[in-house]
């Protein structure tokens, strides 16, 4: 026998096709796995490879590997392979399966990976009923990192991080993942199996196949938990470790089927193909034909220096943001440069709301209006907050019968009126914002009425409200004109 031949094993039972012939991704010893003698992973790998073979899904299978001793699944399985971050395999598998629903996505995880750091990901993947398969290998310990305690570590079990044994007072109780997930509605199949003797191994083989087959049939989330020996960390012989799992570990983690809804589950249909590419702009509402005509009521005559800076402020619910939006939308319709910026500051805390609107002929540099040419103050706190910021020569529109004398300024114009009451008389106090907008439009006299109408119809869907808002706008314009006559009369 040559030395080369001596290094090869004769495979007596035939090797699953789903395994590579040689493990070429391994650095050395490419004819054997990296698993220690007596480790359960090797057996579970075989069961999974056999299931893939039997179901004829090798080309469709995508295996999502864990972090831990199972990390090298891609060295062995001749399928599509993805290596996930610690605990995240169910999230990664979700991302794969949702985009490639015709593929068979299998997550392979150990107990540290799945039950500790990945507890959120497994819980939610199961709860969503992702149509994936999860192979959960539970050996009650962190093996690859050298024997630290796991959520599944047994009470009293000594590990490097529970040197005196696991105590309920400090580490709580072993986590029963299968039982936990079986409380959820969505999972279709959950079973815990062992590798303690030939009978158990035969049952485990069937369970592994079943969880994969369920996915092939489109039934939904299926998981098999395999109680698995780790002779190296247990510091036992393979036979002792196998017996310990069967005789001791099983007492904490009883074998059995915790969920089987495969009979009732309806096979899922593959999603229909998405729309044609040409349809996408229309679906997104960005196709040119679907948009209102730009510059519909373009203001050819607008002055180059036109630069309206408006700050609108009031209580939440007064329609502050909508007022600004109608103004900006109308500006766009009129062919102007516009910006609309909602308040993003501490004033939100006091329940007030405000926005910055700019309309200009030239491109707008800063969308922030710190020195408005027009302040629309829909309540007194807003007036007090912003009145001193108004540019000299600018306007303050104040929603109140009497303008607080301590807010008065010689260098700005003021129109104070109970706009809300006016709106109430028109039919609904909530149209107060549009009465104020009407006054603003009449004062500034930069936007064509057609643009306001167009903007209103685009932003306000209910015809009843459009009608009310139109009356409100008209009334607001009148209020300003009336105020002029009053001034004229007085003078």
């Amino acid at each position: 026998m040559s030395s080369e031949m001596a290094s090869e094993y004769a495979v007596s039972h035939g090797k699953a096709k789903a395994f590579y012939e040689r493990y070429e991704r391994k650095e050395e010893l490419q004819h054997q796995t990296h698993f220690c003698p007596g480790c359960g992973h090797g057996q579970v790998h075989k069961m999974l490879a056999k299931a893939i073979d039997e179901l004829g899904i090798q080309n469709r299978t995508i295996l999502v590997g864990p972090v831990g001793c199972g990390v090298f699944t891609y060295n062995y399985f001749d399928v599509g392979n993805i290596s996930a971050a610690h605990g995240r395999a169910p999230a990664v598998a979700t991302g794969v399966k949702r985009s490639r629903p015709e593929s068979i996505v299998i997550g392979y995880q150990g107990d540290g990976d799945l039950a500790a750091i990945g507890s959120a990901e497994i819980l939610h993947a199961a709860n969503r009923g992702e149509n994936i398969t999860v192979i959960f290998v539970n050996n009650a310990i962190y093996s690859m990192t050298g024997g630290q305690s796991a959520p599944t570590t047994l009470l009293g079990q000594k590990t490097t991080t529970t040197p005196d044994g696991r105590h309920t007072a400090t580490e709580g109780y072993p986590l029963h993942v299968s039982e936990l997930l079986a409380t959820l509605e969505a999972p279709v199949y959950i079973e815990r199996v062992g590798l303690g003797d030939n009978k158990q191994i035969a049952q485990a083989t069937r369970a592994v196949r079943r969880t994969v087959e369920n996915q092939v049939r489109g039934l939904g989330f299926s998981m098999v938990e395999v109680l698995s020996p780790c002779p190296t960390i247990f510091k036992m012989t393979p036979v002792e470790a196998q017996r310990w799992v069967r005789d001791v570990m099983e007492k904490t983690f009883p074998l059995g089927v915790f969920r089987d809804r495969t009979k009732d589950a309806q096979p899922r249909q593959l999603p229909e193909a998405g729309p044609a590419l040409e349809e996408i702009p229309r679906i997104l509402g960005v196709d040119i034909e679907g948009l209102p005509e730009g510059n519909a009521h373009a203001m050819e005559h607008a002055a180059e220096e036109l630069d309206l800076r408006v700050r609108v402020a009031g209580f939440g619910g007064q329609g502050v943001l909508l007022l600004g939006e109608v103004l900006a939308e109308a500006g766009l319709d009129a062919g102007l440069e516009v910006s609309w910026l909602p308040s993003y500051g501490p004033e939100i805390r006091s329940g007030t709301s405000n926005c910055h609107v700019r309309l200009a002929r030239q491109p707008i540099d800063s969308p922030l209006v710190t020195q408005p040419t027009v302040l629309v103050a829909m309540n007194e706190p807003s007036l007090r907050k912003f009145h001193s910021s108004v540019r000299p020569g600018g306007w303050i529109l104040y929603n109140g019968e009497t303008f607080p004398s301590d807010c008065g300024r010689e260098d700005v114009h003021v129109l104070a009126h109970s706009f809300t009451r006016v709106a109430d008389e028109l039919g609904d106090a909530r149209a107060g914002n549009m009465v104020m907008l009407g006054a603003l439009l009449e004062i500034t006299a930069v936007l064509p009425e057609a643009s306001i109408d167009a903007a209103l119809r685009r932003l306000v869907k209910s015809p009843k409200w459009v009608a009310l808002d139109e009356r409100a706008l008209a009334r607001g314009r009148e209020l300003y004109r009336e105020s002029l006559q009053e001034v004229g009369h007085e003078s």
Binding site: R60, S83, G95, G274, P281
Partner: protein
């Protein structure tokens, strides 16, 4: 030309779908939630996948899965959520998976507040996750750029097989401006590394694990070469009236907008002020700064953070010109007036006293 008024956050999603993105995984957070909501509405209609994940940790790993499967995928979040995604971003950079992440920043550290701040610069631009990697970072300053740079982000992500972050503050996310979109949608080619569950892709492996030390060093060398290439080819910045600028103002996102307004007013007052606005924060436009330093006497960095981009400006200038710094944090914005006052102060200190223009004219 027909434009429509739209929020920056909404523009991102539309642009993403037009760019062939067909998977969105996210977790709501102010001020980025409109992105998730818009994706929830449009992604399924476009034949794509939308899923609200249980956490940002899960969301980024779902992206890892979608990108592994060869699908253009994106997520969005804000500071605290981006912190949680850093693990997955590192894994994606390591595994060379493309994706687009929109970070609409808010105040920090910790829960901070929901007001706009720019304190995510370090964690995004310097790579908040572990290991030797970089993310390409684009910083839009308008709604139109939210759309345009999203499209660019998907291109760069594929070209460099690397996560690309769209870093915008809450203002740019929440504000509405007119925007226009391309009228044709893209169907990207399936990348050859993808694992799609077919015979052709069966041999593919997506992993960031390189157990052998020399193998990992070689892999990092390969990543590093990509980053060098990006530094050479992908630098983008906007210069506004820098030709004769003696004072160069610099800031990104909403600050870039404010700085232009300040520079315009400063110029009206006779100061030669220009604006250099980085559009790519990584790669940082170092050469732009070096070139402008030939004429400029002082650089003024304005941030809504505590001197994070300032470090990159100082590295780029390497001491050849003074760098002054103005910042507001916590959700406050350096106002036009505040910055203008600061610029005038710097001009007084730095520039030689000179006669006002009119007087000189009168003397001729």
């Amino acid at each position: 030309m027909r434009k429509q008024l739209m929020k920056g956050n909404e523009a991102i999603v539309r642009s993403a779908i037009l760019s062939g993105c067909r998977a969105f995984y996210g977790y709501p957070i102010t001020p980025a939630s409109e992105i998730t909501e818009t994706a929830a509405l449009y992604m399924p209609r476009a034949g794509g996948v939308f899923l609200q994940a249980e956490s940002e940790v899960a969301a980024i790993n779902m992206l890892y899965g979608a990108a592994s499967a060869g699908v253009r995928a994106m997520t969005s979040s804000s500071g605290p959520g981006i912190s949680l995604m850093q693990e997955g971003i590192s894994y994606m950079a390591g595994a060379e998976l493309p994706c687009v992440i929109a970070d609409i920043t808010r105040g920090g550290p910790g829960l901070g507040n929901i007001a706009a701040e720019q304190g995510d610069y370090h964690q995004v631009v310097k790579g908040g996750g572990h290991g030797n990697y970089r993310t390409i970072v684009l910083a839009p300053h308008s709604v139109q750029e939210m759309a345009d740079l999203t499209a660019l982000a998907f291109e760069l992500a594929d070209r460099y097989r690397n996560p690309v972050v769209l870093l915008a503050d809450g203002f740019i996310g929440q504000m509405m401006e007119p925007v226009e979109f391309p009228q044709t949608a893209i169907a990207p080619r399936q990348p050859e590394y993808a694992v799609t569950g077919t015979e052709e892709t069966r041999g593919n492996l997506v992993t960031s694990l390189h157990l052998d030390i020399d193998d990992l060093e070689a892999h990092q060398g390969h990543l590093e070469a990509k980053y060098r290439r990006a530094e050479k080819c992908e630098v983008r910045a906007e210069e506004w009236r820098t030709d004769d600028a003696e004072i160069v103002l610099t800031g990104y996102g909403i600050m870039g907008r404010i700085l232009k307004a300040v520079a315009a007013e400063a110029r009206a007052g006779g100061l030669k002020v220009g604006v250099l606005r980085p559009i790519t924060l990584y790669p940082f436009p170092k050469l732009h700064f070096k070139r402008l330093a030939e004429r400029a006497r002082v650089f003024v960095v304005v941030e809504m953070s505590n001197g994070q981009m300032l470090e990159d400006v100082r590295l780029a200038l390497n001491g050849v010109r003074p760098v002054e710094f103005l910042s507001r944090v916590g959700g406050n914005v350096p106002s036009h007036e505040e910055v203008l006052g600061f610029v005038r102060e710097q001009a007084r200190r730095t520039l030689p006293a000179r006669e006002p223009e009119e007087e000189r004219m009168a003397n001729v």
